[in-house]
Amino acid sequence: MENKKKLLINVVIAIVVYAAVMILLNSGLLNRQMRSLITPICTNVMLAVSLCLIVGFLGELTLGHAGFMSLGAYTGALLSLNLPFPPYVSLFIAIIAGGCVAAVAGAIIGIPVLRLRGDYLAIVTLGFGEIIRSVINALDITGGARGLSGIERLTNYNHFTLVFVLTLIVIVVVSNLINSRHGRAICAIRDNYIAAEACGIPVSRFKIMAFIISAFLAGIAGVVYAHNIGILKPANFDYNTSIEILVMVVLGGMGSIKGSIIAAVILTALPELLRGAADYRMLIYSIVLIAMMLFRNSNFNAALIEKKNLKAMQKLQKEGK
């Protein structure tokens, strides 16, 4: 029952958000700048939610998410530029292929994950992202540093329904996964991998699985990204992009899908809406991050959590007796 209620609330939220954006778009209340924000917000939500699977649920720090995204973006763009099919058919193929190429990269990066943890893994994934960017920069087929242009804009705000559905799919995939035996295995590995292994969970397989799924979803986000801006440049996918996505997950509370979504929306919209402050975006990021870290380790926060726990326990004891 509880679950049904939650599901209903989420469905209502999704419909309200969709309807609100549609009304705003069609009524002409949004100026050009705000309209152009719609797809970037959706792609960032997809990226943040997919990264949340690795950082929040698997509990591994990675700094190469932009690498997966770029693989999806370039694969998708090249396909829809070269395929002879009608645009939407090409786009569909591009989305699947973009996800798959990124997923293969996810499997490859998943291998060091089995040997490295924490900071070391962060460094390796950072390098991995940069390698992908350098390779794209060097290849002819990807247009090198000049990039690719003339990609048909099949995912801009005129196609909001499509973008919205894709975003929903990504969110639903991750949140469904988390509430399943596979997701529980992933969370168990995060909390204690020795115990997880002792409970019969093949840790290596699930670590790689999490990376593959996350990369696949990031690849899809990349395809959407490419078909929104129409021009791809390797510089769009440097480590700053990875860090921006990571910041969304961290600010969203690590391991909270809702938090990641909200953080992605705010952090994408805010710098654009406060044009003047855009120069200070990185500064604001770091200040907010430091504030978050300080808050998390503060006595004040500990006291808050303790209070909450105490209340929960008292409630339980009352019910128990």
Binding site: N179, R184, D191, N192, A198, C199, N309, M313
Partner: protein
């Protein structure tokens, strides 16, 4: 045939011989204790049995087939479950999900079913929930089902670890100091629970314990380790009165 047969088991860490020439034979349905002073190698023996370490010498067979070289998760599937000396729960998961995670191999469905939440997923999940509540009830943990594992009091965390191990449907359950840090009341209660689960789940239990009241109260047979080697074995009344064992524990 014995359920578990350990022959000449040994492991070296560099120059240190943590376990040396250990022989054990556990009959099906028995409740056996593994005791010895601090640092004797008891936990290391558990780690060898569960595949955390690979032995440098010796053999381990479960129901006649060797488990040496298997990974911990394969050994769990083969039928050995364990608890840890320093509790290792899934802290940020609910009590219910801790046990559910351990049902991983009992109730299977594919990744696609996980992602789509189709009817078969719902059916399996419902069966899992029922199984979880059944296990939690045995330990009086059912009222805490939705609490975070980290919020449980210490004694209940130990119980949850046993519940989680049982969820993997083991033939052999290894308990590493289940009564550590418990007061006499809690220990007495734990002894009852151990007896109960042995009957209810029809399993064999091997436990490490320093509490001699618990050991002599419920164990039918004891193995004593000292400096990695087997010092004595036999029924509790004989072993615990053995001068060798008393000196090992109390010193000269």
């Amino acid at each position: 045939m014995a359920l578990l047969e350990v022959k000449n088991l040994g492991i070296s860490f560099g120059g240190l011989r943590a376990v040396d020439n250990l022989n054990m034979s556990l009959e099906k349905g028995s409740l056996v204790g593994l005791i010895g002073p601090n640092g004797a190698g008891k936990t290391t023996a558990f780690n060898l049995l569960t595949g955390v370490y690979r032995p440098t010498d010796g053999t381990i067979t479960l129901e006649g087939s060797s488990i040496v070289g298997k990974t911990p998760s394969e050994i769990c599937k083969a039928g050995i479950a364990r608890t840890f000396q320093n509790i290792r729960l899934f802290q940020k998961m609910s009590v219910k999900d801790n046990v559910k995670a351990a049902l991983h191999n009992q109730f299977q469905y594919s990744l696609l079913e996980s992602i789509c939440h189709v009817a078969s997923y719902k059916k399996k999940e419902k069966e899992m929930d029922e199984k979880v509540m059944e296990i939690l009830k045995v330990f009086d943990l059912d009222v805490y089902a939705d609490t975070f594992a980290s919020n449980l009091p210490y004694g209940k965390q130990r119980k949850l670890e046993i519940a989680r191990a049982l969820a993997t449907d083991p033939k052999l359950l290894l308990l590493d100091e289940p009564a550590a840090g418990m007061n006499p009341n809690e220990t007495a209660e734990l002894m009852e629970t151990i007896e109960l689960i042995r009957k209810k789940f029809d399993i064999t239990i091997l436990l490490i314990e320093h509490d001699m009241k618990l050991v002599s109260g419920i164990c039918e047979y004891l193995y004593v380790l000292n400096f990695g080697t087997e010092l004595a074995n036999g029924t509790p009344d004989i072993v615990l009165n053995d001068p060798k064992v008393i000196t090992a524990y109390l010193g000269e």
